[in-house]
Amino acid sequence: MTEYWGVKAEDIFNTMKDRFRVEGAKGVDAVFGYDIEGAGKWKLTVKNDSMEVEKTDDLSGCVTIMKANEENFIGVNIGKVDATNAFMSGKVKLEGDMGTFGKTTKMFKKYVPAKKVMGTGDYIQDMFSTLVARFQPQGASGLDVSITYNIGGEGGGVWTAYIKDGKCELKTGQPDKPTTKLNVNEAKDWVDVMLGKTDPFSLLSAGRASIEGKTEIALKLGEIFAKYAPKIKEFTTKDYILDMFGTLVQRFQPKGAADLDATITYDIGGEGGGKWTAYIKDGKCELKEGQPEKPTTKLCVNEAKDWVDVMLGKTDPFSLLSAGRASIEGQTAIALKLGEIFSKYIPPSSGGEAEKEELLVLKKTISVNQRFATGPIMGRFLNALKEKKIFTNKCPKCGRVHLPAREVCAECRIPATEWLEVGPKGQVRYMEYVYFSSPDPLTGETRETPYGMLNILLDGCIGNDTFAHLVRRDQINLIKNGRNDVAGTRVRPVWNEKRVGSIFDIKYFEIDE
């Protein structure tokens, strides 16, 4: 079974029950067959106000059998292929009683493909298919370069933009030596960058992306190509109508309705239509469904689609009126003032509201690489982690154990000279569930949330001598905090295979049972 326009033949059959219109099936008592090449056979049984559809191999007893391939069948059903032409040219064939079969067209509401959530692959395809359209010659003046995007992971691929003489061409694959090559390990990361969810610098510093060749070209990408804006779901007439009336009160302009005491009813017919009334008084506006007995003004529009066109500025209301597709009852003067009473409707597809512009945008990443010394104390602590040991120091005066090791005991103001091994197991004192994670400042990587941050009283420590680390993510709901008189959950470290003398030589702690 193949998808055409994102739809499979079985989608159409599986939704028939929901799309069935009782009034269209009045007086019909018949069995119809569908033989769709490459997809299978279906049998539709209609008996007055009920219907059944089943997938079957046996089409015997059908009054009519429709034969078509998948593409034509789907195309006709979603309006991409003209039904009459398909029939006349033999792409769709009918065997048996053609007259009765004609009634099926009124029996079902139109098939509307379910909106698909865009996946990583869809975004990547969409980004590259719009790349040439997003090319900005003024941002690429004087450039003669090839920019290769090497996107790994699911949905990835290799594309190269060839830019020369203010023109841009996109090809799959890459030349021998592109001017600049952008490697991104995971397509998902690149989608996040393009959607503004991640900044490219954190990807680069986390080693999840790299640039080969001329870096300065990569830094200019924002000038060479306009920002990628994902496709917005197409609004149906019904969506528009609901959105228009949903925003009517907030579009009300008291200035334009000074001294007005009126009820304005909108009676919108056709699919997606309905009846709403705006009650305007004392500079306030309220919207209700339905209408009062005698509204001050009543606007009747036969087809919702026409009203959407008016609101979107595609048709002018006077031509609707003169063509008899709309009418006004009551005070016409108020209808003519609607443009003052309500501000213009702006559809969400144009961003809904005007994009808020920052007064000042400073595109600078402040970054100065650092090289930190450990000194003898920190060095000893970190080196012990390599040996899977938590080896730390203790104040010779008050006995306080430092985690991590410290140069001095802060309270006694003397060097902490005694060394001892503690843990590595211990009990949880505090755990925090973190739901919103900011990138790790050292690596730029974002942790998965929620995660649990722990303070652990390692064996051999007392009081507040606790050690901070993370807990195994699937165990965060099982951790109990302890106090001096109550034991917390026992935990043990899970060591990294490769240990380099860092806090992440311990991956995390897990429950010790």
Binding site: L362, V368, F372, A373, G375, R406, E407, A410, R413
Partner: protein
């Protein structure tokens, strides 16, 4: 209330090009221990240290609120601790205010900077500039100093040969200072052939990247003898801030230093610095600044810096016998280094470089683009 503040003890580590073996915490702690040993001061709430002033820079430490990682090593747990991210010389002014106001009678003053930790000092100093107008142009302390150097050298007749002389002398002097950064001895030809960084500043004209830390103990006149038999007195302090944007000022005018030093002289009752002050420590981040600051504090005549060098002004007025900042102290800490040298000279503890009979000394420091900020401290025996 006496109008002088006692400096009872100083501590420092050796200036190093890369203190790879120590965190700044280790560096500070060494100074802290030294002050404790020298003075036997306590942290008693009535009789001991209740307040610690620290000096450090967020950008060099790569953490915001750079003092948060040093509380324990400067003994500040459960005591007051106030950080200054300005030239360290202001810490002396601040300590004086704490003491002379009567709020505190003992102040511990500690500072650190590891310039070697960052990839590039010039990248760090680029961040001191206005992010919208100046950073994008690539301004940093070095290239902006070069602008000032051109303007000043023209005004005061300072030549490339003069600069070479200053560098050679600085290196020679540093040999006699055991805490100075170990630098190669150079001759004037080497200086004049060293790479040009930002015309007219050559590599050897500019202070090298350095790691350093220090500590000082200050107190009221009344309590000084509890901590030392030989206190040194801080009798004058003045500071002055000039415009942030370079275009707003005459780069060669020395306005802020003249202003700062005249305030310090007034406070210390000095009428003629040439006659009354025996030793000068000036913060020469770059060689051209030595004669320029000498003009600013009044030991060289205005616009005559070049001639002053030729006439032997540097030795006549005992200027930068420590090797000066030019030999290597980290940014921010030049002022503390100058004051520590004055302290040692006044106490007669300056070893091979000791000048006989030093009674009054001056420490000067500057900070900011083309020395926007200037401060001067007068110290007496």
């Amino acid at each position: 209330m006496s109008n002088r503040v006692a400096l009872c003890a100083v501590a420092q580590i050796k200036n190093e090009n890369d203190a790879w073996h120590a965190r700044f915490q280790n560096m500070l702690h060494e100074c802290f221990e030294s002050i404790m040993t020298q003075t036997k001061v306590s942290f008693d709430m009535d009789k001991g240290i209740r307040n610690i002033i620290t000096c450090s820079d967020d950008m060099f430490d790569a953490r915001t609120i750079s003092n948060n990682g040093i509380t324990d090593v400067v003994g500040a747990q459960f005591r007051g601790e106030e950080k200054m991210s300005q030239e360290s010389i202001n810490g002396l002014g601040y300590a004086m205010s704490c003491i002379m106001s009567g709020h505190d009678d003992v102040i511990l003053f500690m500072g650190h900077c590891k310039e070697s930790q960052g990839e590039s000092r010039r990248m760090v100093t680029n961040l001191t500039f206005d992010p919208f107008y100046c950073r994008p142009i690539g301004m940093d302390h070095l290239n902006v100093s070069a602008m000032q150097a051109r303007a000043y050298m023209k005004k005061s007749g300072v030549s490339e040969e003069h600069l070479a002389k200053i560098v050679v002398r600085s290196r020679k002097n540093s040999k006699k200072n055991p805490n100075a950064r170990d630098n190669k001895m150079v001759d004037e030809k080497e200086v004049m052939n060293s790479p040009l960084l930002a015309d007219p500043i050559r590599e050897l004209h500019y202070y090298p990247v350095t790691d350093w830390a220090y500590g000082m103990l200050l107190c009221t006149e009344e309590r000084a003898r509890e901590f030392t038999d030989n206190p040194i007195w801080i009798t004058g302090y003045g500071s002055c801030m000039d415009s942030y944007f370079l275009g707003d000022k005459d780069l060669a005018s020395n306005f802020s230093l003249k202003n700062a030093s005249s305030r310090a002289y007034k406070m210390a009752g000095i009428k003629d610095p040439k006659k009354e002050i025996n030793l000068f420590e000036l913060s020469d981040q770059s060689a051209y600044q030595l004669p320029m600051w000498a003009e600013g504090v009044g030991i060289a005549d205005e616009g005559k810096g070049g001639k002053w060098i030729e006439d032997g002004g540097m030795d006549k007025y005992n200027v930068n016998l420590s090797g000066g900042m030019l030999n290597g102290n980290p940014l921010l800490l030049g002022g503390a280094a100058r004051a520590i040298e004055c302290f040692l000279q006044l106490r007669g503890e300056a070893g091979e470089r000791q000048v006989k009979g030093v009674k009054k000394a001056l420490a000067q420091a500057s900070y900011g683009p083309a020395a926007q900020h200037q401060a001067v401290v007068i110290m007496e025996k």
